[in-house]
Amino acid sequence: MPDLVLKGKAIKLGDNISTDDIIPGRFTHLRSNLPELAKHVLEDAAPEFASKVKSGDFLVGGKNLGLGSSREHAPVIIKMSGVGAILAKSAARIFFRNAINQGLPVLLCDTDKISDGDELEINLTAGMIANLTSGVTLSCSKMPPIMSAILKEGGLIPYIQKHKDFVITPSSEPY
């Protein structure tokens, strides 16, 4: 289960970062060797990302983050790089669902209010982000309860191991 309060530094990317950008097709032969695959995370779109990212950092995108291919390897290797949560103005639906299935929080908010290098504190329960550098507080859009339940268990596989099935809960909460 991810921590409820996350603290880290923002690594800012632009709009329309596709899953092809996150892990290009030419590395498909490495998909069964995730540590090797992870070395190429965002290699073309943000060549400095892999060397810059520290454990607990936040990947902050613009609009339509993760568009394109359904390759779940994209959120897998973002998580392996140490990223604690993904923030974006909007996220493509398969990528969003895949990240949650990997136990990697995705928060949708106005990322224009976040600059590269800003220190952020994210409260997953409240769905709030405090930008400690600028002093601005951002609220995040809610996800369906079933997604927050999956995220709480640390991803779809631990969720299924525990529940053996999908369980629809009536309550709605940000996390």
Binding site: D21, G25, R26, R31, D44, S69, R97, N98
Partner: protein, 417 residues
């Protein structure tokens, strides 16, 4: 209240009265993976503690992306997938059979079905009135084991089609135009539902092209009704008994209604490096191309090869332009041989690739060099898509690709048809 097609299918399969915004758990008629997403799905399946499939006849592994394999690691992935099929009784589609989405359309998808695939272009089967959507490996692993998944019922956009395609204009031009209008996230999380009077003259082949690219506007599904064209297609493919009429209700609620008049369309293309960077071909004419690629789940069908062969018959590719053709399935290839299309294409200088995804995703069979330009009939032109971030990919239909291969530069196909 009336229902959209998405609401109708999800209601039926979840035994609820589902409305947009609801979350439902629904039975899945078909769950599939392909060779680049399958290995992770199998690992997730096993890690979850599953041993058996919910229904082996409703589960398929397609070997199509790296087919035949260009690397030992991918060959080993194929071994893993074949072994899993052997252990579980899962159907397996071997290299050379064709692209997953084409084979799903030819053999499996029926109106009213729910189909989930670990591939974003699973939306293709929406052309047959199936709620077909792409998911990741974990979600499909669970669907393989449980025979169900959870779905947020999407809001729908109705694309109301009128008019008639002008000469030299096809389904690909329609969907590129639409994506250019609404943008790559214009339908994020939504269902695109195609309706209107023009439907009666949009063939199944073109419907498949249009539904295939719904995801390039962010849509969860691209749905056509199950009408006479659907029935004829099912009969032709030996499963007429699976036909059922499925239409949205007259009083259904749509978040947006987008009228689109086919009379106004012209040949379109996407410029590098975004699918929604759409312009009419007339504005981009003359750009030199080193490669033309006709194929993929978007445009590798018999009708597509017919259009290309008609343009290329008796002509030659430009000496500076390589021409690659990958039929979408074994059946497409056989029919294209019978009809003489393959002969015309080979005589025009084309290289025929095996029925597979081929050059589309940058793995092999047509990787571009630095600074090279490819005009492709695929669905994605992201930077690096065809294996080289220093190359450029334009997207268009088969007619534009064929005409451009002759001239060696981006060419308006209406000069040839």
């Amino acid at each position: 209240m009336g229902k959209t097609l998405a609401e109708k299918i999800l209601s039926l399969k979840s035994n609820t009265e589902a409305e947009a915004g609801d979350v439902v758990i629904a039975d899945v008629d078909l769950a599939f993976v392909q060779d680049t997403t399958g290995p992770l799905a199998i690992r997730q399946f096993k890690e979850s503690g599953f041993e058996a499939l919910a229904g082996p006849q409703q589960a398929i592994i397609f070997l199509d992306h790296a087919a035949p394999s260009p690397a030992p690691q991918l060959s080993n992935d194929h071994i893993l997938l074949r072994r899993f099929a052997g252990e579980t009784g899962c159907r397996i589609s071997e290299i050379g059979d064709g692209i997953c989405h084409q084979l799903v359309a030819e053999n499996f998808a029926n109106p009213g079905d729910i189909i989930v695939g670990a591939d974003s272009h699973t939306v293709t089967a929406g052309a047959l009135g199936a709620f077909a959507t792409g998911m990741g490996s974990s979600d499909v692993a669970v669907a393989l084991a449980l025979g169900k998944s959870w779905f947020r019922v999407p809001e729908s956009f109705l694309i109301e089609l009128s008019g008639v395609f002008p000469r030299g204009v096809y389904g690909k031009d329609l969907i590129l135009y639409l994506i250019g209008q609404i943008g790559a996230d214009g339908a994020n999380y939504k269902a695109l539902e195609f309706g209107g009077k023009a439907l009666a003259q949009i063939t199944m082949s073109q419907r498949l092209t249009i539904a295939n690219m719904a995801v390039e506007a962010g849509a969860k599904v691209g749905l056509f009704p199950g009408d006479k064209i659907t029935r004829d297609f099912l009969v032709e493919h030996g499963r007429g008994d699976k036909y059922r009429p499925i239409y949205s209700d007259a009083e259904a609620h749509y978040e947006q209604v987008i009228p689109l008049n086919l009379d106004q369309l012209e040949p379109m293309l996407s410029l590098p490096h975004a699918v929604d960077n759409v312009r009419p071909v007339t504005q981009v004419k003359g750009v030199r191309i080193q490669q033309a690629f006709i194929g993929t789940c978007t445009n590798g069908r018999l009708e597509d090869l017919a259009v290309a062969a008609e343009i290329l018959k008796g002509k030659k590719r430009n000496p500076g332009t390589r021409l690659l053709i990958a039929p979408a399935s074994r059946q497409v290839l056989i029919r294209a041989i019978e009809k003489g299309y393959i002969q015309s294409l080979i005589e025009a200088g084309a290289v025929i690739l095996p029925p597979s995804c081929a050059a589309c995703l940058g793995l092999h069979q047509g990787v571009l060099g630095d600074g090279e330009v490819c005009l492709s009939t695929a669905n994605r032109n992201f930077k690096g898509r065809m294996g080289n971030p220093e190359a450029m990919v334009y997207l268009a239909g088969p007619a534009t690709a064929a005409a451009s291969a002759i001239r060696g530069e981006i060419t308006d196909p209406r000069e040839f048809v």
